[in-house]
C-alpha cells in the first residue's frame, strides 16, 4: 500500500523558473521586497531633511522647534540620562506585560473552566477596560504606597484585557469534532485543556500578546506622568515632562524617539516570538506561492 500522492518529504527545493510569466512575477516579488525597506527609509530621510530646512528657512528658535541636528545632539549628549530613563520605563513595561499575560491568560482559563466565575467577573473586566487608565491612575496612587506597584497596576489595567479576550476566544474555538473525539476517548478536563484547548488558543493568545505589548508601554508612560518622579527615579515620560518645563524641546524629542523605538522593539520581538511558535503548523505563518 502506498500513499495517494508521491510527494517527497521533506519537500525538495523549488524547480528553477522557466517561463516568462513566472520570471516577471519573480522580478516583481524581488522589487517589492527591496521596496519594503528602501521606501520607508527614503520617506524618513525626506521628512528629516524637510524638517531641517523648515527650521532653517523660518529661523524657528530651538525652544519652539529644534532642528533634527539639535535633537541628535541631545540624544547623544544626554544619552546617560536618557538611557537610565529608558531602562526604568522598559522595566516597568516588561513587568507589566508579564503580569498582564499571567493575569489575562490565567483569567481566561479560569473563566473557561467555570462558567459561573465567568458570569460573575467578566462584566467587571470589561468595566476596568473601558474606563480610561488616565482617569483611574490618580486614585491608584492615593492608595498604593509603592510607586513601582502603582505603575505596574496602571500598566496591567490597560494591557491585560486583549490577552484575556483573545485567549478566551481561542479556548472556545476548538474544532467541535476534536472535542467529540476527546469525549469518546474519555479525556479528563485537564487533558482537554492541556492537549486541545491551549494549543488551539495559542494563535489567538499571541495575537492578543502583540496588542498587549504596545498597551503596556502606554500604561507605563501614563503611570509615569501621573506618578511623577519621586522615589523610583525618572522614566522616559517623566523626562519628557521635566524637559518640557525647562523648555528643553530637543530633549523632549529625543526621549520621544526612544519611547517610539521601544514600542517598535516590543512589537518586533513579539512578532518574532509569534512567528517562531506558529511557523510549523499555523496558516498565518505559511507562505504560499502565486
Amino acid at each position: 500500500m502506498t500513499a495517494d500522492a508521491q510527494v517527497p518529504y521533506p519537500p525538495t527545493a523549488a524547480a528553477p523558473v522557466v517561463d516568462a510569466e513566472e520570471a516577471r512575477r519573480a522580478r516583481k516579488r524581488r522589487i517589492e521586497q527591496a521596496a519594503r525597506w528602501v521606501l520607508p527609509v527614503v520617506v524618513m530621510a525626506l521628512t528629516i531633511w524637510l524638517w531641517d530646512r523648515l527650521v532653517a528657512w523660518n529661523d524657528i528658535p530651538h525652544y519652539i522647534l529644534p532642528g533634527p541636528g539639535r535633537v541628535w545632539g541631545s540624544l547623544t549628549g544626554d544619552w546617560a540620562i536618557l538611557w537610565d530613563a529608558a531602562l526604568l520605563t522598559g522595566r516597568i513595561t516588561l513587568m507589566a506585560l508579564v503580569v498582564a499575560v499571567l493575569g489575562g491568560a490565567g483569567l481566561a482559563i479560569l473563566f473557561n473552566q467555570s462558567r459561573m466565575v465567568e458570569l460573575s467577573f467578566y462584566p467587571y473586566a470589561v468595566i476596568l477596560q473601558v474606563t480610561p487608565v488616565v482617569a483611574i491612575a490618580p486614585l491608584i496612587f492615593i492608595y498604593v504606597e509603592s510607586k513601582t506597584v502603582g505603575m505596574l497596576l496602571c500598566a496591567w489595567i490597560v494591557a491585560f484585557f486583549p490577552v484575556l479576550s483573545s485567549t478566551t476566544l481561542g479556548l472556545n474555538s476548538v474544532d467541535h469534532n476534536l472535542r467529540d473525539l476527546f469525549r469518546i476517548y474519555h479525556a479528563s478536563r485537564w487533558q482537554k485543556l492541556w492537549m486541545l484547548q491551549l494549543p488551539s488558543a495559542l494563535p489567538y493568545f499571541l495575537g492578543g500578546l502583540k496588542i498587549a505589548g504596545g498597551l503596556s508601554l502606554i500604561g507605563a508612560v501614563v503611570a509615569e506622568l501621573v506618578a511623577g518622579t519621586g522615589g523610583v527615579g525618572a522614566g522616559l515620560a517623566a523626562r519628557i515632562q521635566e524637559a518640557g518645563y525647562r523648555l528643553n524641546i530637543a530633549r523632549m524629542f529625543a526621549a520621544l524617539a526612544l519611547v517610539a523605538a521601544m514600542g517598535v522593539f516590543i512589537f518586533a520581538a513579539l512578532s518574532l516570538l509569534s512567528h517562531l511558535m506558529l511557523r510549523k503548523w499555523h496558516e498565518s505563518a505559511i507562505k504560499r506561492e502565486g
Binding site: 500500500m1 500513499a3 518529504y9 519537500p11 469534532n177 467529540d180 469518546i184 474519555h186 487533558q191
Partner: protein, 259 residues
C-alpha cells in the same frame, strides 16, 4: 420487507433496541431503530440527508443519549473500544502525523515510547510511515484522511465508526481508500459502521446495508451483500456488484418515497 441476515456464529458487539432520539423542538431524528452489530461486521448506514444516520452514530459513540430505547454493549465499554473517523480529517494541526496517531494512547496515559511500535504499525497500515514527522498542512486531503484512519485503528478498537469519511474526496482517491480500507479491515479484523449516502460505496464495502428514511429517521430495510471478501477492483465492475447496487438503489428509492 426486511432481508434476512444469514445467521452466523460471530459474537455480538452491541445491540440497539427500539432507539428513539428527539431533539428540542420536537424533531424526531430517529424512531424505533433496531440494529445488531456482530464482530467483523461491515455495516453501512445508507440514506438521504436528515435520515438520522449520523445521529445513530453519535448515539453509538456515546456522544448523545437516546430519548427512549437502549444501546447495549456486550461487554463493559472502555475508552479505547471505539475509533472514530469524521467527515473531516479532524487532526490537531500543531502535532505531527505521529503525535496525532499517538493521541488515543496519550489520553489513556500510555507513554510515547511504549506506544511507538503500535503507532508505527498503524501508520504502516495506512501507508504513511514515511510521513510520520510531517505536519497535517503538508499532506493532501486523502493523506490526512489516512492519518485519521490510523488514529482510529491504533488502539485496536472493537468498533470503528466512520461518518461519511470519504465524501469530500475526489473519486480516484475515494476508490483507492475504499480498497485500502477493506484491506485494513481484513488485516486487523475490526468491526465497522460506515455512514454514507453513496449506494456504490456502501455495496462495495459492506456485508450489510441498513437503508434509512428521513422525517422521522428510521430503518426501512436491511440489504445483505453476500459477495465474498476480499473484494478487489474486479468486483467493482462485476455483474454481481451491479445486481447488488440495483437492489440497494431500489431500497433507497423506497426509503425516499416513504419519507
Amino acid at each position: 420487507m426486511v432481508a434476512v441476515v444469514p445467521f452466523d456464529q460471530r459474537a455480538e458487539v452491541l445491540r440497539m433496541n427500539a432507539v428513539d432520539k428527539i431533539f428540542p423542538g420536537d424533531v424526531q431524528a430517529l424512531r424505533g431503530m433496531d440494529l445488531q452489530v456482530r464482530e467483523g461486521d461491515f455495516i453501512s448506514l445508507l440514506g438521504p440527508s436528515g435520515c438520522g444516520k449520523s445521529t445513530a452514530l453519535r448515539l453509538i459513540a456515546g456522544l448523545s443519549d437516546p430519548t427512549a430505547g437502549r444501546i447495549e454493549w456486550a461487554a463493559e465499554r472502555q475508552a479505547g473500544d471505539i475509533g472514530v473517523v469524521f467527515q473531516e480529517p479532524t487532526l490537531m494541526p500543531w502535532a505531527t502525523v505521529m503525535q496525532n496517531a499517538y493521541l488515543p494512547f496519550r489520553l489513556e496515559g500510555r507513554s510515547f515510547n511504549s506506544a511507538k511500535d503500535d503507532i508505527l504499525q498503524a501508520l504502516r497500515l495506512v501507508g504513511l510511515e514515511k510521513f510520520k514527522n510531517a505536519y497535517p498542512r503538508e499532506l493532501s486531503g486523502g493523506m490526512k484522511m489516512r492519518v485519521s484512519i490510523a488514529r482510529a485503528m491504533v488502539t485496536n478498537p472493537k468498533l470503528i465508526l466512520m461518518d461519511e469519511p470519504f465524501a469530500a474526496l475526489d473519486e480516484i482517491t475515494r476508490f483507492k481508500l475504499n480498497n485500502d480500507l477493506l484491506e485494513m479491515q481484513a488485516r486487523i479484523g475490526c468491526t465497522v459502521i460506515f455512514v454514507t449516502h453513496s449506494v456504490f460505496e456502501s455495496v462495495f464495502l459492506s456485508d450489510r446495508i441498513v437503508v434509512m428514511a428521513a422525517r422521522p429517521g428510521r430503518v426501512i430495510e436491511e440489504v445483505c451483500v453476500d459477495a465474498p471478501y476480499p473484494r478487489t477492483e474486479e468486483f467493482r465492475t462485476s455483474a454481481e456488484y451491479a445486481a447488488h447496487c440495483r437492489a440497494a438503489s431500489r431500497a433507497l428509492e423506497a426509503a425516499m418515497e416513504a419519507a
